[in-house]
């Protein structure tokens, strides 16, 4: 698809797209557009792959200086990036564990930091995720001990 019309399509019917590959500048734009469409920089993760190295980070690379040190940053993006990293390292069970807990806290329990319209602090979100992970890992240990 010609890249220019893509932007129009992205804001009106983004569901038609699956995997998109493109040169550098367009990727910067589409990546940010996509992040905006689904909730913003707080929940999108990204990975950078090379022949020998891989770096995982928040998807839009926003430093968020204006909210630095206020305990309101959304930890989801970084946590999702780290779970992608675990997948990449072959630790798929652990990657899945973290990712699903993050999703549960955001989508089901709806514990949201201000960027998602809520009033939770970073710490509250992290504690909720840790609680969910602990519940699941308890089950693992219980399973092992039988």
């Amino acid at each position: 698809m010609v890249i220019i019309n893509t932007y129009l399509q992205m804001v009106s019917k983004p569901q038609q797209f699956d995997v998109m590959v493109m040169p550098n500048l367009y990727g910067n734009i589409i990546g940010n557009l996509g992040a905006g469409l689904i909730g913003g920089p707080g929940i999108v993760s990204g990975m950078n792959l090379g022949d020998q190295f891989a770096i995982f980070e928040t998807g839009t690379r926003n430093s968020g200086r204006s909210i630095q040190g206020k305990n309101i940053a959304n930890p989801a993006a970084m946590l999702l990036a780290s779970s992608q990293m675990l997948d990449h390292l072959g630790l798929k069970d652990h990657g899945k564990l973290i990712r699903e807990s993050v999703k549960k806290v955001i989508s089901e329990e709806k514990i949201h930091t201000p960027d998602l319209g809520g009033q939770a602090t970073t710490l509250q979100v992290v504690q909720a995720i840790v609680k969910d992970i602990k519940e699941k890992t308890q089950q693992w240990y219980t399973h092992f001990n039988h």
Binding site: I3, I4, N5, Y7, L8, Q9, M10, V11, S12, L25, N28, I29, G31, N32, L33, A35, G36, L37, G40, P41, T60
Partner: protein, 362 residues
């Protein structure tokens, strides 16, 4: 009344041969009309009909821009069409199909070069009655249209390595920035935002940005700020109401103008104007020729009509512009007589007549 006539005479004396784009008289002005291809002729007829109903002081001079073969074997716009726009300065254009074949250059590019159309303006305002996932959008994108990433300078370094030159000049950047601030003032907009990636493209976008800052300093009654392109995209889809007038180089403008059109419902309802040096301006619909519905009275003339309304404002006929625009928006909002693409079952003629009815009632 007498004072107005005197003012016009004085204006004409002072201005002499130079063309005044802001003409407050009510004498009829001739405008070049390029109906275009596909649905072009029928939507052009719609616009003419509506303008006649409004008794707008516009006389139409239709021209055909179908390329003709020149002595050099290359196809070019017929001289008659070129002379018409040079004479009238203002044009309204429907969609053009670029013929495929040897010797054909893009017609839009040819028009742009011929009339030095340096700024592309797209006002994108949410239309009541045509719901999109985004509300209260009211953004104007102003795109530098002569250089930038589309300078057309490319070369092969070695096999498999190609370089493309992004050309940014002080002259073109200042020119488009000045237009952006003038537009903001004339249209009661409060903020002009320069969109750039000067953190990465330090010299090219850096120059563009500095030129915008320079012009901003001379226009302190309009607010000015700067934003990265990727941040605009991120924020635009989360809250488009935070943006007002955006000015930017060519490629970013190409992208953002289409993005904004998508926010309000697509190219079928988005107007566009191309501003040239010497007072020339061509207003156009930017959708395609829709050959599958051409001639079937199904086309939606809204984009061309809104472009024509932009044209009226540019020419200083604000009152006529408002009347016609209100009739058009009221028709869409009421939702009784809508073309297929707007979710209705009416024909182009029925839609046009409804707008005419409303215009005549004012």
């Amino acid at each position: 009344m007498a004072a107005r006539v005197l003012l016009n005479s004085v204006q004409r004396l002072i201005v002499g041969k130079a063309f005044v784009t802001r003409n407050f008289s009510s004498e009829t002005r001739t405008v070049t009309l390029i109906p275009g291809d596909g649905i072009g002729p029928e939507i052009s007829e719609s616009v003419k009909t509506i303008f006649a109903a409004a008794q707008a002081p516009i006389a139409w001079e239709p021209v055909d821009v179908t390329p003709v073969k020149g002595p050099d074997g290359l196809f070019a716009i017929p001289q008659k069409a070129i002379d018409s726009v040079h004479k009238n300065k203002i044009g309204l254009k429907g969609p053009l199909a670029t013929p495929i074949g040897k010797g054909h250059r893009s017609l839009n590019l040819a028009l742009r070069k011929e009339f030095n159309l340096y700024a592309n303006v797209r006002p994108c305002k949410s239309i009541e009655g045509y719901k999109t996932p985004y509300d209260d959008v009211d953004i104007v994108t102003i795109r530098e249209n002569t250089e930038g990433e589309y300078s057309g300078i490319e070369h092969v370094i070695v096999q498999g390595v190609v370089q493309s030159i992004k050309l940014i000049t002080k002259e073109a950047s200042i020119r488009v920035a000045e237009f952006a601030f003038d537009y903001a003032k004339s249209n009661q907009r409060s903020t002009v935002t320069a969109v750039h990636k000067a953190n990465i493209m330090r010299m090219s976008d850096g120059l563009f940005l500095r030129c915008c800052r320079h012009v901003a300093e001379k226009n302190t009654d309009i607010k000015f700020n700067e934003i990265y392109l990727d941040t605009v995209c991120l924020n635009m889809v989360q809250d488009p109401t935070q943006f007002d007038v955006l000015v930017m180089p060519n490629l970013y403008g190409d992208i953002l103008s289409d993005l904004c059109a998508g926010l309000i419902g697509g190219l079928g309802v988005t107007p566009s104007g191309n501003i040239g040096a010497d007072g020339a301006a061509i207003f156009e619909s930017v959708h395609g020729t829709a050959p599958d519905i051409a001639g079937e009275d199904k086309a939606n003339p809204t984009a061309l009509l809104l472009s024509a309304i932009m044209m009226l404002r540019h020419m200083g006929f604000g009152d006529y512009a408002c009347r016609i625009e209100k009739a058009c928006f009221d028709t869409i909002r009421e939702g009784n007589v809508l073309t297929g693409d707007l979710g209705g079952k009416s024909t182009c003629s029925e839609f046009t007549n409804e707008i005419c009815r409303k215009v005549e009632a004012t």
